[in-house]
């Protein structure tokens, strides 16, 4: 590996530094941090990695580094933040092409001047590449679809250093396999995404929010179903749920002169007590409160009350308390876990370091007890997953949980996925072990 460093330096025009403890990923210490500034530099870097059998882990701003399994090994952290070019914003064509290291926030600024937006609004706002690699999801997914639906083209560097493109700069395109979808949500295990072309949407001039309290799982279901089946075509339907009750928030967008009327209709649908707001509620597009762990859950739209019941059962099984925030009209949400003794409030753990939930963040139970409890919650919720028709993935968890429970859970089609990984990365250089089934 000693020989590799000079070649790495050459590949990245000198932008390689020794890694520090802060660069560790779930306890795995890399040797170097490389910061290439172009697709060509990434390709050169991957050729060096392939030649010297260096394992590479791609990192943007690091907001989601603690998700998934620890890598089996990690020699080089590939920092994408210098890949931050705005390649093109064709306002008339409603597309943007950006380097993987450009932050979502900057991309929204880039296109916002033209009253356009990228329909990706996750609670954790990192880079474009991070949003793509993890398949970020936020409230506007109901209107604009998932990240995978907005990616129209991609440049990637394979594990062997070969540069490839898929898709293009037009929204409608069925030429060849859609590698953009395959790479989206692949957690950096198939290739290094260096540039992404997205479809944009105009920002509607009229925007309103309607919020209603829901006192039970049945209430929540009724409110969500009312919105799902209404013809108001809400841009977002969000649920904030904790301790057996919560709030449903609805975002109505449209023509400047029509949105208020539509929001009034939504308020009437949601019954007495619903309020019509000109601003989003304070909890909008935030993660649920958590100190111990954060999980992603999916469900059939109509499976919401069964999910909420299952969460309550898992709270009992684990002794932890759980809060849900999500997009029930899409069928996706985040569950935050905290120990029973934690005070509610702003106790959310910072997570950008990639060392989520050391036991010190939490009250009782702590250490092994906490890890046991999180594992029990996760297993209990998975046991019920068939009832709500979805899946349970552990994102952030204290030390020790990942030894007790597979963060990804059962995966259908795993043999095909292994075959895909074996084709794209036969030497297992890219984030080995991070993804489902230890891919």
């Amino acid at each position: 590996m000693g020989a590799g460093i000079e070649e790495l330096q050459r590949a990245c025009d000198g932008h390689v530094t020794s890694a520090t403890e802060a660069d560790a990923v779930l306890g795995v210490q890399p040797s170097w941090v490389a910061s290439p500034a172009s697709t060509q530099e990434v390709a050169a870097l991957m050729r060096v990695a392939a030649e010297h059998d260096l394992a590479v882990l791609v990192r943007g701003t690091g907001t989601k580094l603690a998700w998934g399994n620890p890598p089996k090994r990690c020699d080089v952290v590939l920092d994408t933040r210098r890949l931050d070019t705005l390649v093109e914003h064709a306002a008339g064509d409603l597309i943007v092409v950006a380097g993987a290291g450009r932050t979502l926030e900057r991309v929204q600024q880039d296109v916002g001047g033209s009253s356009q937006r990228l329909g990706v609004d996750p609670p954790r706002q990192g880079t474009v590449g991070g949003a793509v690699a993890s398949g970020s999801t936020g409230p506007l997914r109901l209107r604009h679809g998932a990240v995978r639906d907005l990616v129209i083209g991609m440049t990637l560097v394979r594990a062997d250093g070969v540069v490839a493109h898929s898709g293009g700069k037009v929204v409608k395109n069925v030429a060849g396999y859609d590698l953009g979808k395959l790479l989206t949500g692949s957690f950096g295990t198939l290739g290094v995404v260096t540039e992404v072309a997205f479809r944009l949407h105009p920002v509607p001039a009229g925007q309103r929010w309607v919020v209603a309290d829901v006192a039970s799982a049945q209430d929540a279901q009724a409110a969500v179903q009312d919105m799902v089946h209404s013809q108001l075509m809400a841009s977002a339907v969000e649920l904030d749920w904790d301790d057996g009750h919560g709030r449903v928030g609805v975002q109505i967008e449209g023509h400047a002169d029509a949105a208020a009327g539509c929001a009034d209709e939504a308020r009437d649908l949601l019954g007495s007590g619903a309020t019509h707001e000109e601003r989003p509620p304070g909890w909008w597009d935030e993660e649920p409160q958590w100190t111990a762990a954060l999980l992603k859950v999916t469900h059939e739209i109509a499976g919401l009350p069964r999910l909420l019941d299952a969460i309550a059962r898992s709270e009992q099984a684990s002794g932890l308390r759980a809060a849900l925030r999500g997009s029930p009209a899409v069928g996706v949400g985040l569950v935050g876990l905290r120990s029973n003794t934690d005070s509610s409030g702003d106790a959310r753990a910072g997570s950008a370091s990639g060392d989520a939930g050391s036991a010190g963040h939490t009250g009782d139970p702590s250490g092994d007890g906490l890890a046991d409890a999180v594992a029990r919650f996760t297993e209990s919720l998975r046991d019920d997953a068939a009832s709500f028709g979805g899946s349970v993935v552990l994102l952030e968890a204290p030390t020790g949980v990942r030894e007790r429970v597979d963060p990804w859970g059962p995966v259908s089609g795993i043999d095909l996925m292994r075959a895909v990984k074996a084709q794209f990365d036969p030497g297992r250089l890219l984030a080995p072990g991070r993804f489902v089934g230890g891919i």
């Binding site: 008339g92 030429a175 075509m233 449209g254």
Partner: protein
């Protein structure tokens, strides 16, 4: 291959009437909607169940025999063109809607279900299936999945790939795998994303879970007539530029209008150099305001006549001209090529001028019909095959149009697929490395390249070593039970 041995093996399991070997009957399946490619398959299997499909594929896999799945056979790129030494697996008998789950906004269907039938079945519940290819009265959802079919309304509602949330797949080895379901974001790679639009090269879908879309409260449609495509194009730019996403925005030029009139008497305004059909849908209050804006933009861009559909019947008439356009050019030309290319929408005026000069220079007439909102062109290149050289010249013009699309940063196909027809154009749009990388997916799913071989890619990739796969002499061959073909 020894077709009779394979046929006998399949008959013993599927029954006699599910396996066709009679040459006359086989010829029924020699082409899909792109009729100038014709190949008679070695045999045809009419599949009723996933077990039948899996069994057929396993028999093919162990003999190294290629197979091709076929839905309704309406594809326009030869994606379901049979293989002369292979099995054509006809999916159209699997046409049951297995489940409609209104509250989860999903339906589970067999692949042979006709696209429009699903919308008709769910319409009483206030729902429909959004992807609406022009062939929706006859095309199958399995075929839509293979081709990632679009339609006039995909500008707002997306393509098949945005509406499929689950598949049951028979892999090219004959294994049955469940991918996705009614919930989104199954853990793992987005194999659904790779499969939808893979044109049958990664296996056969035997069950499909799709999104159902709530029917809009209000739909309003207008027909605007312009002197020229330039003016109509300016109207499109103005509408999109104002932040409107119409449900559909379709353009036809003078020659396409002439053809449609001859075929279906749609009564479009006389003397129009171009017409736009614009449809706005959504909540009533929103639609009213947006529709007024659209009308204003059409006027300002120079529309000399604007008709607003007063009811469903009139809306259907507006659409009739547009939806019949492909077949209609048969009225004004004995032969024609339906082209399918995409350009960035803002390049529309320039590309149309270039197509016009291609037409003038070559003497080949080109009628233009397109989904203007997303830059998806369907130039219809007219010729008379009975006149020497015309077919060749038409092919050249058609190819030159595709080159124009590539030059402007677009695509060689927006919705018809690559199939057998456009594999040769793939290297113009993608580098060797791009194509090689796509074929890594092929190698993962189908290392022996038996699932619809010869489509999409101009040259197959050698898949190299395959850990964990059977190699060497097959045990049955070794035992003398089966021959190696």
């Amino acid at each position: 291959m020894d077709a009779s041995a394979l046929a006998a093996a399949l008959r013993s399991r599927l029954g006699d009437e599910a396996v066709i070997t009679d040459r006359q009957r086989l010829r029924t399946y020699e082409c899909d909607g792109l009729a100038h490619y014709r190949v008679v398959p070695a045999l045809v299997v009419l599949a009723d169940t996933v077990e039948a499909v899996a069994m057929t594929v396993r028999e093919c896999a162990r003999r190294g025999v290629p197979f091709v799945a076929r839905g309704s056979g309406t594809g326009l790129s030869g994606g379901a063109l049979p293989h002369a030494d292979g099995v054509l697996i006809v999916m159209s008998r699997m046409r049951e809607i297995l489940e409609v789950d209104r509250d989860s906004q999903r339906a589970v269907v067999e692949p042979g279900v006709i696209n429009l039938q699903l919308s008709e079945a769910t319409q009483p519940l206030g729902y429909y299936y959004a992807p609406d290819p022009s062939s929706q009265q006859v095309c199958s959802i399995g075929g839509n999945v293979a081709e990632n079919s679009g339609g006039a309304h995909c500008l707002k509602y997306g393509f098949t790939t945005n509406h499929v949330t689950g598949l049951e797949l028979v892999t090219p080895q004959g294994d049955v795998v469940e991918l996705g379901g009614k919930a989104p974001d199954s853990p793992g790679y987005d194999l659904l994303g790779a499969l939808v639009g893979s044109e049958g090269t990664l296996g056969i879908a035997t069950r499909v879970t799709v999104r159902l879309t709530r029917s809009p409260e209000s739909v309003r449609t207008l027909l605007a007539a312009f002197e020229s495509t330039d003016e109509a194009g300016a109207a499109v730019s103005a509408i999109i530029g104002a932040g409107v996403i119409p449900a559909a925005i379709e353009m036809m030029d003078a020659l396409a209008i002439e053809a449609a009139e001859a075929a279906v008497q749609c009564g479009y305004p006389e003397g129009a150099g171009a017409v736009l059909v614009v449809e706005i849908d959504g909540p009533r209050a929103d639609v009213e305001h947006v529709f007024d804006e659209v009308e204003r933009h059409c006027h300002e861009a120079g529309a000399f006549e604007i008709r607003i559909a007063r009811d469903d019947a009139e809306r259907a008439l507006f659409w009739k001209g547009r939806k019949s356009a492909f077949a209609a050019v048969g009225r004004i030309s004995p032969d024609y090529i339906v082209q399918d290319g995409v350009i960035p929408r803002t390049a529309l005026p320039e590309v149309l001028r270039q197509i016009a000069s291609l037409s003038t220079e070559s003497g080949v007439r080109v009628a233009n019909v397109f989904h203007a909102g997303d830059g998806n062109l369907h130039p219809l290149v007219l010729f008379d095959d009975s006149r020497e050289g015309e077919a060749t010249r038409a092919e050249e013009v058609s190819g030159a149009i595709i080159d124009l699309c590539i030059t402007h940063g677009g695509s060689i196909t927006g919705e018809h697929g690559v199939g057998a027809d456009k594999a040769k154009f793939m290297p113009r749009m993608f580098t060797d490395e791009d194509l090689d990388t796509m074929q890594l997916v092929r190698c993962a799913f189908d290392p022996d390249s038996i699932s619809n071989p010869g489509k999409v890619f101009p040259t197959p990739r050698l898949c190299g070593e395959r850990p964990g796969r059977h190699q060497g002499v097959h045990q049955l061959a070794e035992a003398g039970v089966a021959e190696v073909f």
